[in-house]
């Protein structure tokens, strides 16, 4: 498992793309929003939490198909499936690598972009926390979606159609935590529920993703 994790990280850092792309996409989406809704600071300040969460979610989506597609094409996925490690573990390691490559940088970069949108000062810590808690769930759900569509050529659009509805609960609780923080309210409830969703998803989704991969490798 550790070897798979390290291998995926190396591939993401070295083989051009993966790592910086999601971050750049996040930046561009957030910069495009003021062009769309107008430059009034008050409006941007109000919608900043939602924009940042939606943009982070889309950035996460962007690199999902890389999780399994490349390994499926060059034949290393069947090898991983027959390796002594359970396939569930491989899925978990790959999702974790995806999270380190996209989720963690997104959470770290979010405050800088929140600054651009004039977000309320009190919400910065909650923004980073909610993204740090929520993005593992995004990666794991995304890994399931990627496993589902791995056998389909040009399955990228289908992947987003399948995965985005699954992201709704995470988005609702993540963004609402930041909104509540911006309004000066307590954020414990949404953050706790978000944490619960992440824990359940990380515990159960590898089983579903591995089952789906086995079907695709049949």
């Amino acid at each position: 498992m550790k070897a798979v994790f390290v291998r995926d990280l190396r591939l993401a850092f070295r083989a051009g793309g993966g790592f910086g792309l999601a971050l750049a996409f996040f930046l561009i989406v957030v910069i495009l929003v003021p062009f769309g809704v107008g430059p009034e600071t008050a409006v941007l300040r109000r919608i900043a939490p939602g924009i940042l969460w939606v943009a982070a979610l889309l950035a996460c989506l962007l690199s999902l198909d890389r999780i399994f597609a490349l390994d499926f094409e060059d034949g290393s996925l069947p090898l991983l499936a027959t390796a002594p490690v359970p396939l569930e573990g491989v899925v978990l390691a790959k999702a974790a690598a995806h999270w380190v490559v996209t989720g963690v940088p997104l959470a770290c970069a979010a405050p800088a972009l929140a600054f651009l949108l004039n977000m309320e000062g009190g919400a910065y810590l909650t923004l980073v926390m909610s993204l740090a808690i929520g993005t593992p769930a995004l990666s794991m759900i995304g890994a399931f979606g990627a496993a589902l569509t791995v056998g389909i050529k040009r399955g990228g659009l289908l992947l987003s159609l399948l995965v985005l509805p699954l992201y709704v609960p995470v988005l609702i609780f993540g963004a609402s935590a930041v909104r509540r923080a911006a309004d000066g309210l307590s954020v414990a409830t949404p953050l706790l529920i978000l944490g619960a969703i992440t824990l359940v998803v990380v515990a159960v989704m590898p089983l579903a993703a591995a089952a789906v991969l086995r079907i695709n490798l049949r």
Binding site: L161, P169, P190, A208, A211, I215, N216
Partner: protein, 246 residues
């Protein structure tokens, strides 16, 4: 009678073929009676006026939109656990029907909302949950379309249906946390003394039963068609192999 007998597609087709025209006839008959009764022989409601009559389409379609998904979930579980081939095809057959029901519920709801709330659409938890349900139907059908091999497609869509059910359920409660709604509480519950005033209730029950029977008829018909399609594909494949050998 056990459902396992009908895992044999031939037996299934033979059994449902005589049922289908009856189910269509009874469903359509009940629907016509229910709608005419509801539209022309019930009074206008005190505050909503004539717009209340949308209920005869809105409630049955919403009821079926959810229950079609539940049926797909059960059929998918039966397929995944016991490899009941007809069950997998029944799940596939129910999906477009359920999706159309979702669209009818959303459309009639928008018309009703315009008449009573003064707006076509609000981001109310119920309305939003239905929109998300529509997306799930869309993804489910798209996944079926995208995979050429029927058994792989059945397996993958079944697991997608099971996982999707959990998330659809979760989204529904997340949406309640997320927004306050304009929509009233459930119109139908078994434990309530009186759900809707009796004048409206009787034709409504008739319409509900009619929608249910029509749903069964459509699903049986579509399942039979799917079986015939699978058979055709198998025969074509066999013929191609035979030609290659010659």
């Amino acid at each position: 009678m056990s459902i396992w007998e009908y895992a044999n597609p031939k037996k299934f087709t033979a059994t449902v073929t005589p049922i289908i025209p009856w189910a269509f006839g009874i469903g359509l008959g009940l629907l016509v009676v229910g709608l005419i009764w509801g539209f022309f022989f019930t009074p206008a409601e005190n505050r909503q006026g004539e717009s209340v009559k949308i209920i005869y389409l809105h409630v049955p379609s919403a009821f079926l939109a959810i229950n079609a998904w539940v049926m797909m979930l059960v059929a998918s579980l039966i397929w995944v656990i016991r490899r009941h081939h007809v069950s997998a095809l029944a799940a596939k057959a129910a999906a477009p029907v359920g999706m159309v029901m979702t669209v009818i519920a959303l459309a009639t709801g928008a018309l009703w909302g315009q008449a009573t709330w003064g707006t076509w659409w609000v981001w109310d938890p119920r309305l939003t949950s239905f929109l998300i349900l529509f997306l799930f139907y869309l993804g489910y059908l798209a996944l079926w379309e995208a995979i050429p091999d029927p058994d792989t497609a059945a397996d993958l869509t079944a697991i997608m249906c099971i996982v999707g059910s959990v998330f659809a359920f979760l989204s529904r409660y997340a949406a309640i946390y997320w927004a306050q709604g304009l929509h009233q509480d459930a119109s139908l519950s078994l434990d309530a003394e009186e759900n809707v005033s009796d004048v409206f209730w009787q034709p409504l029950v008739l319409c509900l039963v009619a929608f249910g029977v029509l749903f069964v008829a459509l699903v049986l018909l579509r399942t039979r068609t799917e079986i015939a399609k699978r058979r055709t594909l198998a025969l074509q494949a066999r013929q191609r192999r035979a030609e290659v050998r010659v």
